[in-house]
């Protein structure tokens, strides 16, 4: 009996390490998580059940992230949709010591300096949430519908470049997914190829 318990623990540990990398497919239940923001407040996905949630993987050093913040594109999206009642969670899954990892103070500072409008900037230094969602890029975008199912995952828009000048001529997939989702329609383009820097995960 005892052997079995140990076995279960070990297999589930191994399992979480092995299974963690594949992004859960669109339509499947979004894995629940619980992370703290810069002020130490805990946010869990389950607490936002019934609302549409956007997850955005973040790295302030990444040129692709800077493309969307430097131009104000990301802040504009955050402002527009949080005002419509959507929960926007920005997640930093970079490991301590790696580029883009933020301490709570640094996180506080950057949200002020960049005038961001997300619901919360969450710190995931262990990379657990990033791995659970198979997030490989910054920015990597996920939209979760009010039923807690993944409705969209992939890139923020259609032009995979670090050049802000490309933003006006690109299709914003997240905006499209949110608009369709809010209108009660199925998302017509639910999976796209994400682009950007790699998330700097802690080596496991």
């Amino acid at each position: 009996m005892k052997r079995k318990t140990i076995l279960t623990v070990v297999t589930s540990l191994v399992a979480s390490a092995v299974f963690a990398f594949d992004p859960p497919p669109v339509g499947s239940a979004a894995p629940d998580f619980s992370l703290t923001d810069a002020s130490g407040k805990t946010h869990s996905l389950s607490q936002y059940k019934g609302k549409t949630v956007v997850l955005e993987w973040f790295n302030p050093e990444c040129p692709f992230v800077k493309k969307h913040y430097g131009s104000g594109n990301m802040q504009k999206l955050q402002e527009e949709y949080t005002s419509k009642g959507i929960v926007w969670l920005t997640i930093d899954s970079n490991a301590p010591g790696a580029e883009g990892n933020l301490s709570p103070e640094q996180a506080e500072k950057i949200t002020t300096a960049w005038r961001t409008h997300q619901t919360a900037l969450l710190l995931d230094p262990e990379g657990k949430v990033g791995r659970a969602y198979g997030a490989k890029n910054t920015p990597n975008m996920v939209v979760i519908n009010p039923e807690g199912k993944i409705a969209y995952e992939g890139a923020i828009d259609s032009k995979a470049t670090p050049n802000p000048a490309d933003i006006p001529n690109s299709t914003n997939y997240v905006k499209a997914a949110l608009d369709e989702s809010l209108a009660g329609k199925p998302v017509s383009n639910p999976t796209t190829r994400p682009y950007g820097c790699s998330v700097k995960y802690k080596s496991s």
Partner: protein, 708 residues
Amino acid sequence: MMKSAFRLGAYAIVCLWIFALEPQGKSQTYQGKELVKAELLADTDAVVPGKPFTIGLRLRMAPGWHTYWKFSGDAGLPTEIKWNLPAGWRAGEIQWPIPLKTNDPGDIQTYGYQDEALLMQQITPPAKIGNSSVRLSADASWLVCEKICIPGNAKLYLDLPIASAGNPENQELFARWRRLLPQNLPEITSANWSRAGSDLRFSLTAPTLANYSTVAFFPLPPENTVVGHPKIESRSGNEIKFRIPIEAANKNLSSMEGLIVFGQQANGEDRAAWQIANGAIASNGGPTPAHGIFAFLFFGFLGGIILNLMPCVLPVISLKIFGFIQQAGQSRQKILRSGIAFAAGIFAWFIGLALLLIALKAAGHEITWGGFQFTNPYFVLSLGVIVLVFALNLFGVFEISLPQSATRGLLGWTGGQDEAGSFFQGVFATVLATPCTAPFLGTALGFAFAQSPAVILAMFVAIAAGMSAPYLLLCVQPAWLRFLPKPGPWMLHVKQFMGFLLLATLLFLLYVLGAQRGLEGAIWASCFLLMISIACWMKGAFFTPSASIRVRTIAALTMSILLLVSGVYLIGGKFRSANIASADSRLRSDWQAFTPERLRAELEQGHSVFVDFTAAWCLTCKFNEASVLESGVVREAFQHHAIVKLKADWTNGDPVITKLLQQFGRPGVPLYVLYPGKSEEPIVFPELLTKSMLLEKLETAARAVASQ
């Protein structure tokens, strides 16, 4: 040192890269550090008008930094080159050298170049050049990453003199990088793509493959295709099979460009690669000879010939042969015409079926052979009706009309037209052959379903050709009819006996219906079949040419009413509402009904799970169950290792199970999978189980789990 540099730069939003002019190139610096030196180099010291030469963009990266391949992988961006060439000059595609594959924490795979990369392009000058020299300029842009990523770009140019002859330049550099260009697939290679659910499967057999210790597939996915990491499914000798998960793509994606990279070690200097063109199977004259497809088409043809011997078709075929026997004395031309009409019937049906499948596939339906037909009870029922009517016809309950005398009767409804009669006979023979195709043509069809419409069509045409070959041969060489026995009373007995074979087929179909709709459903269906029999009998007894118009009218009316009422009541009402037999009713006590949640729950609890994907109409499944799964030793072994047994019943084509089957790349059942534990790869068994194989795997799986 580096670290402090990063820290200094942290949270600085501005990103600076400064280019210092160099004699022949430019360099990208970041925070005082030179990251990339970019320059254009030619393989000649002078341009000869009209003679193509090569220019390379050489990127030299600081140690630890890399730029990216044409497909950058999970992160990064490919390098881009935009030429501003004088009028009349042309630049070819970038010739990408074989990249290095890098794995980063978080299962992030990227493809790129470290230290140095030379991206070559062929430049074709015009045949006449007025000037004595030329300036070729290009805008290059790239992303260079170490731990962090910095975009870079440069306006580069190269001045070259125009001359009547040139000498090679930068020979060592170009030779070194040309060695790293992928080659075309060797002639004697066979490469096959197939699509299985969300995975692409690629198998390659090449004569020298066994010599390399590492072999990998580097994908070049089309835009907006989200591709997972290619995995090696199996490798033995000169054959290797890859599975390439597709996370989002065009549904019809059936192959992918890429490289087969091989060497003695991953990312070794000695690495070499073969270029895999898109649609290695399509006959676009690409580098891959399509051995695979011809072999499968040949199987299709052979399968078609064999179809003539199947019990379901034999009766029709024998009728045709009787026809031939009776025609033996007739004009050769007449025989030829009738034979061709018969073959046309066969072709018409198969081509129609192929078009239907192509249309369904195009409409986004995932199609499988078994699922396409046998999971639909109405299809099974219609088949049952046809088989029964045919059997009654053979018994003589209603008129047997051989094509010659065919003025009435099932086969002769076209009113005496020999060719038309033969045509419909051909169609009929093939309709009846359909349920027999699965076991014989399964492999070939399974292959075809994953292919392009052209291949599907070619496959069905091959089957039709095989099936009609014997008749066409007899028509062309009517002299061979001599070898057939002389017509006589024995023909009647043979015909009646064929009727019993058809009834046996009917029993099997009823068994399938019973499995789909329960005992009640099968009985209601049988009632309908009884009504059909009565109608047939009435037709034979009263609806005869010798009967008066009045009798014939009454007979026809009664028959129509009988069929209509019984059809509406028995099939539209009773049969339709008969409870769909639940899988549970067919389970032995120690098997439990499969659901994905159930599987997950059992694995969560640390159990090993064996799943039997089966269906009532699947004879191979029944055979495996009786001879292996339910045998004493195997039952004991399951019990001994405390393995949970789940049965996934696909009799009614459950979509959840269909999806799982596709994940395992199977067009249908049987499928046997052992999940040793949550963290371990499931073990998939072959279609035909043996006790020893199953016991051995159960043993090893149990050991593997115990040792964790």
